[in-house]
């Protein structure tokens, strides 16, 4: 039977979920508060003539199954990660190998072996990814199958010695693991960067191995694939028959007798639905839109205590010319540049955030989107996009007075690697986590709609009791990064949510 389905939030997961539900024959409407869909992927003009393709700097390739199902062409070229050294010594980290001046053969081999081993671990965890995370109580057949597959992959996919090693390192920190196998400090810094960026963690924080494995789900990043990513999702949804309404901010999810019956828009307009799907984060969905009075007290409390404070600021610089980085050719700038010279540096950067301060020396991810998409800047000019951490959501001194100080700090840090860059800046913008919260309706401005720590993952994401996309409210589902397996431009939460809605009693089955 055709169901009337409303999806709150037109980020890519909402578009993916909507496309699947519409393809199954349902009447789907996506309600987006902003003027265009895409969420963190929506294009954004930050200064006259200068734009970026969204907040995300680089993306994983879209999951192949989702790409195929929805007819989305996985665009973009894989890019390398270049770890910048002040003295011009750069390391180039590819999918399988690493190169750089004075890098020992031992470290090169160790890196290759490390990547191979860790990719195997990530693969072993794959059964969890494309399925709803199994419940521990009252499992259905699918849950049992998922767990059996996971067990099989861990034991027989990895083999006894790899599985033992996985169990040893799975819960510990990336700092200890890297010190065991690699000597080069800059190489270790670069790897640990990927384990902590976007998380409230330093390399020495337990479970940073797990966050690193999460990054390995799809290794290759493509600044270039961002260009068309958003429109591809939007087109797929439109092609499937989804109606998209922009400028439609939802102020309330209407619940009657424990069942979601529709939404109220900010203008007061009421819209009825058989099923409401929320692509918003869990706090927004449950505490703001549903409201604690419609929920059990401890459920509301547990939602309210999930960790959702972001710590990455996004900076956009309009440049009159491409900067010169010490020791880098201009054509290397289409890669992903990072500043994380060693693990101690990264750990020190993190330390500040624990006390509500931004990093004295932040870690940076730098890309030049205008190299892939020349329409983003006037001819000859460029856009530099920087993700800078740590920039805690709750800055003790307050962001309003300190935004420019942090922006200045970031730029002068880049100046160390690319002398003269400051002189070419014609305009800039800084989006702190507080700004991201405002602009994208994401609590805490967190990349992943909540920390991707082990206590907020799998059957505990966002919390147990609503970890299988359905919620305590009948007819209300989650489809965004707040749900398993979390953030990143993967489309997987949207895909899994749609599967759940289509198969579950009380869903659209």
């Amino acid at each position: 039977m055709t169901k009337n389905i409303l999806i709150i939030g037109g980020g890519h997961n909402g578009l993916v979920c909507g496309a699947y539900l519409a393809k199954a024959g349902n009447k789907v409407t996506i309600l987006e508060a902003n003027d265009s869909v895409g969420g963190f992927l929506a294009s954004h003009q930050f200064s006259d003539g200068y734009s970026v393709n969204g907040l995300a700097g680089v993306v994983h390739p879209l999951n192949p199954k989702i790409a195929k199902d929805l007819g989305i062409k996985a665009g973009g070229e894989p890019v390398d990660t270049i770890s910048l050294g002040k003295d011009g010594r750069h390391l180039i980290l590819g999918e399988d190998g690493v190169s750089g001046d004075k890098l020992s053969d031992k470290d090169k081999d160790a890196y290759r072996a490390f990547k191979k081993e860790f990719r195997n671990y990530a693969k072993a965890l794959e059964p969890l990814t494309m399925n709803k995370p199994p419940r521990l109580k009252d499992m259905d057949t699918r849950d049992k199958f998922t767990l059996a597959k996971l067990g099989w992959k861990l034991r027989f996919g990895l083999g006894a010695s790899s599985m033992r090693e996985f169990l040893r390192v799975g819960g510990i920190n990336i700092y200890d693991v890297l010190n065991e196998i690699i000597d080069d400090e800059q190489l270790k810094g670069a790897i640990s960067f990927d384990a902590v960026l976007g998380h409230q963690m330093g390399p020495r924080t337990p479970t940073t191995v797990l966050t690193y494995l999460n990054r390995l789900r799809g290794e290759t990043y493509g600044a270039t694939s961002l260009a068309g990513a958003n429109s591809a999702f939007e087109e797929a949804a439109a092609k499937a028959g989804v109606t998209i309404k922009t400028g439609a901010a939802v102020s309330k999810i209407v619940v009657e007798n424990g069942k979601a019956t529709g939404v109220v828009l900010e203008g007061g307009e009421e819209m009825n639905a058989d099923i409401v799907v929320s692509n918003a984060d869990a706090k927004t969905t449950f505490l703001d839109l549903v409201g604690a009075p419609e929920l059990d007290a401890m459920f509301a409390k547990r939602i309210s205590t999930t960790r959702t404070n972001g710590n990455v600021a996004k900076l956009h610089f309009a440049l009159s010319a491409l900067p010169n980085f010490n020791g880098l050719d201009a054509d290397q700038l289409s890669n992903r540049l990072i500043v994380a010279p060693d693990m101690r540096y990264v750990e020190h950067a993190f330390n500040h955030s624990k006390y509500g301060e931004f990093s004295e020396k932040p870690i940076l991810e730098i890309t030049f989107p205008s190299l892939a998409d020349i329409s983003l800047a006037p001819e000859g000019h460029h856009v530099m996009a920087v993700s800078a951490s740590f920039a805690p959501y709750n800055l003790k001194a307050g962001w309003d007075q300190n935004k420019s100080a942090f922006s200045h700090k970031v730029l002068s840090l880049i100046e160390d690697y690319a002398p003269g860059v400051s002189a070419s800046v014609v305009a800039d913008e800084i989006l702190t986590p507080a700004d991201i919260e405002q602009g994208f309706n994401v609590k805490g401005g967190h990349w992943h709609h909540g920390e991707l720590t082990i206590d907020q993952s799998f059957m505990m994401r966002p919390i147990h009791g609503t970890a299988q996309y359905n919620t305590p409210i009948d007819g209300l589902f989650l489809c965004g990064a707040a749900a398993h397996p979390g953030g990143g431009v993967t489309g997987i939460p949207g895909h899994n949510a749609a599967e759940r809605i289509l198969s579950m009693k009380g869903g659209a089955s």
Binding site: P293, D296, A297, A300, S304, G465
Partner: protein
Amino acid sequence: MKPNADYREILQHTPFHEKLAPLSQVQSWSPWNGYQVARTYDTLAAEYFAVRSSCSVFDMTPMEKYRIKGPDAIAFLNRMVTRDVSNLKPGRVTYVVWCNDEGKTLDDGTIFHLGKDGYRLCAAHHQLDWLMTSSIGFDVSIEKETHDVAALSVQGPTSCSVLLEAGFAGLEELKPFGIMNFTVQGVDVMVSRTGFTGDLGYEVWMDPDHAITIFDAIYDVKERGLYDIKPIGLDALEMVRIEAGFILPGDDFVTAETAVRNGRERSPFELGLGWAVSFDKPYFTGRRALEKEADEPIKRRLVKLAIEGNKTPHDSFLYDGKNGKRIGTIKVTIWSPILKQNLAVADIEYQNGKEPAEIWAEIYYQKELEWKSIWAKCEISEKPFWSPPRRSKTPPDRF
């Protein structure tokens, strides 16, 4: 709040202590919620009969009390408790029970509508955590006032007469579960017609600084030779509350907050408090779980049991027949002097949602250090064992 008591005092004294301590003949004290309270003052039987035949006073100051105010106060309470309290009128009191998310009972208590002063929630156990947890999304203020309000329970057939003599003019018009305010000897004092005895009785609430004034005003009625008044302790209260059919969370069942083992916690249905659960109201914590449970046959019940014979069924196992299948245990039991019967609160299993056709207790007892056992037949009572007409008669009879 009053400054903390001397740190060397492990148990605090209630504001009535200086008056009540000299009345203790046996120095039998017990801790209750951080206070020192009497188990008995002289003899249990005399205290028990004070409740049933004359007038008793019981110091209930240690009872947990919370003041809830703010625009969402009633919505907050209604979301917390299982009963519909949205229509609670100013000056009225209602009995309530509340559950965790899984629909298992956390505690029970009473809500007092104090008019413009908000609501008072009285509870057996500490509930501040749960109140704070439940307050997310509500515009309310919650204040613990356990130590800021002194309370004296005045219970028994002559309690109204005593209080009228003590200066509570007009009290006879107060209906059960009603609240009245008085000024006695210049002190503002609130009286509710509530209690834990199943008899005619009142609870008197006041500022601890004036507790002695009010106590003296009441006790003076005895000094003047008009009516007898006897202080009673926790032991007599235990007897009368079982006769009255009141359950005591923590004693009769394990509260959901304290339960460690799986299956020990109880839903209101399993406690026989289904009448205090309403599905005809907005959402409340535990509702989803309770609606599901209500659709299924009930698995067990806390029941009021009358047990034949005169042997005390302490901790007895219960069976569905003599030498039958074991179906439960007795939680608490007393010999009722007024009904001449063993009474108990028992937890028993129901088969297919049905009350067992027969319930037998196997009672072990001792005769001069030699143990014997007998079987005693038990009857479930859905009604309180003791509920005399005077409990609710308004105005009460004068003596």
